[in-house]
Symmetry: C2
Subunit: 219 residues, 2 copies
DNA sequence: CAACATGTTGAACCTGTGTTCAACCGATGT
DNA sequence: ACATCGGTTGAACACAGGTTCAACATGTTG
C-alpha cells in the first residue's frame, strides 16, 4: 500500500516538493501554479525546486509518472469494492487518493499527451471492471466491446472533469456528497437496466444507423 | 440566421478581433493565447485589441457573450435535425458553428463561472431535446428528471471535452468522423435500449442504493 | 583542522506578455 | 485649406514568473 499523505513534514524535501506540486497542479492547473507557490507550500526555496527537478516541465513529468503509477497500481482495489465498482465508489473508499485523482483530471483538462495517457488508463480500468462483471453474469456488453469501453471511460472521465458543476446542478457541493451520489446511482441504474428508448424508436434508429457491415479494426 | 464566418476580411476590425480571439481561445485555450497572436490573426495591431475591448479579460467576456448567445439562439435548429437530435448530429449539420462549440468546450475546461454557464446551457438544451422526444413517445425519462438531464448533459459535455482522445481510441481522428460517429451511435443506442445490466444485478443494486425516500428538491 | 561534497538559499537575471501612450492617418465638416 | 476626431499604429513600459548562480550551511573524509 503506497503512502501518499503521511505528515509532509516528515518527508524529504524532494518528496515534499513533488507532493506540493501535485496538490497545486491538481487544484489550480499547471499554468496557474507558480514555482514560488510550490516552494512556499513545500517549505523550501524556489531554487531548490529547480535544483531537484530541472525545470517546471520536468517537475510536471515527475508528477505525471508518480500519479499515474500510484493510481494504476491501486487498480487491484477496484475489484471487490462494493457491488458496482464505479470510480466514485472507489474514491469514497480511498479519500487519500483524492489529490491524485484531481491531478489526473487536470491532465485530462490540459489535453495533449498527458491527457491521452490518462484517458487510456481510464479505458483499461473500465475494461477490467466491465470484463470481470460480465464474467460474473452481472451485465452483458454490446457487440462492439471496444467502443462500449471507450464510451464508459469517457462518461466517467467527463463526470470527473465536470466535477462540482454536476454536483451543483443537483443541489450538492461535490460528487462525493451522499445525496448527489445516490441520485446519480439511481438514475444510472435505471437508464442501464430498463433502458431509455422506446422499442419502436430503437428500431427506427437502428435502421438509420445502418448497423450492417460491422468491422472492428485497430488496437 | 446568424453569420459566423463570411470572409473575415469583410468584417469590421472589432468583429475580426472577436472572431480571431474566439478561434484561438477555442483551439489553444485562454492562457496559451497571446494578444499579439490575436492581433496578427485579425490583421491588426496589438494596441487596437486593447483599445476596442479594454483588456484581455474583457475580450474573453465579449467572446463568452457572443458564443453563448449564438449557440443558444440556434437551439431552434436542434428540433427537426434528424431522428435522435444529439449534439454530434447537430454539429454535423452546422459546421460553421464548430469554432463556437470549440470555444464553449474550452470554457468548460477552464472551470469557474464560465464553465458553469456553459454546463447550464447544455442542461437546458438536453432538457428541451429530451422533453420533446418524450412527448412524442420516443423515450421515457427516469422519475428523477432533473438528475437524468444533468447526467445526459454531463455525458455530452464530457464527450466534447475528451474530443479527439475518444475518437482516437476508436481509430479515428475526430468525433465527426463517420466511422467514429457510427460506432458511437450503435453502442449508445444499444446501451439505452436493451440496457446493460442483468435483471438480478439490477435488483441487487436497487436494494443497495435504497431508493426509498425519493425527494426532488431545489431549483 | 582542512578539504570537499551535498543540500539549500535568495537575490538577480531574462524572457514573454499585458498594457500604455504619443504620434499618425484619413475622412469629414467648415 | 484647415481643424477636428475617431480609428489605428508600434515602440516603450511594467511586471510576473521561470531560471541562474554565487554564496552559505552542514556533514563527511583524510
Amino acid at each position: 500500500m503506497l503512502n501518499v499523505s503521511s505528515n509532509p513534514a516528515d518527508l524529504l524535501p524532494q518528496a515534499r516538493i513533488r507532493l506540493a506540486a501535485l496538490e497545486l497542479f491538481g487544484q489550480q492547473g499547471f499554468d496557474q501554479t507558480t514555482i514560488r507557490q510550490i516552494a512556499t507550500r513545500a517549505g523550501v526555496s524556489p531554487g531548490l525546486v529547480i535544483h531537484h527537478f530541472g525545470s517546471k516541465n520536468d517537475l510536471r513529468q515527475a508528477c505525471d509518472d508518480y500519479a499515474y503509477r500510484l493510481f494504476a497500481e491501486e487498480r487491484v482495489y477496484l475489484k471487490g469494492s462494493g457491488p458496482m465498482p464505479t470510480l466514485e465508489r472507489f474514491m469514497a473508499d480511498h479519500p487519500d487518493l483524492q489529490p491524485v485523482l484531481a491531478y489526473l483530471v487536470q491532465c485530462l483538462r490540459g489535453g495533449g499527451e498527458g491527457a491521452e495517457r490518462v484517458y487510456r488508463l481510464f479505458c483499461s480500468l473500465s475494461d477490467e471492471m466491465l470484463t470481470e462483471a460480465e464474467q460474473q453474469g452481472l451485465l452483458s456488453l454490446p457487440e462492439d466491446r471496444q467502443a462500449a469501453i471507450a464510451v464508459f471511460a469517457a462518461w466517467a472521465a467527463g463526470l470527473q472533469m465536470l466535477g462540482d458543476l454536476f454536483a451543483r446542478q443537483l443541489g450538492g457541493q461535490h460528487i462525493s456528497d451522499p445525496d448527489v451520489m445516490r441520485r446519480y446511482a439511481v438514475v444510472t441504474t435505471e437508464l442501464l437496466s430498463r433502458g431509455l428508448l422506446s422499442a419502436s424508436f430503437t428500431d427506427m434508429l437502428r435502421s438509420v444507423i445502418e448497423p450492417s457491415d460491422h468491422k472492428e479494426s485497430n488496437t
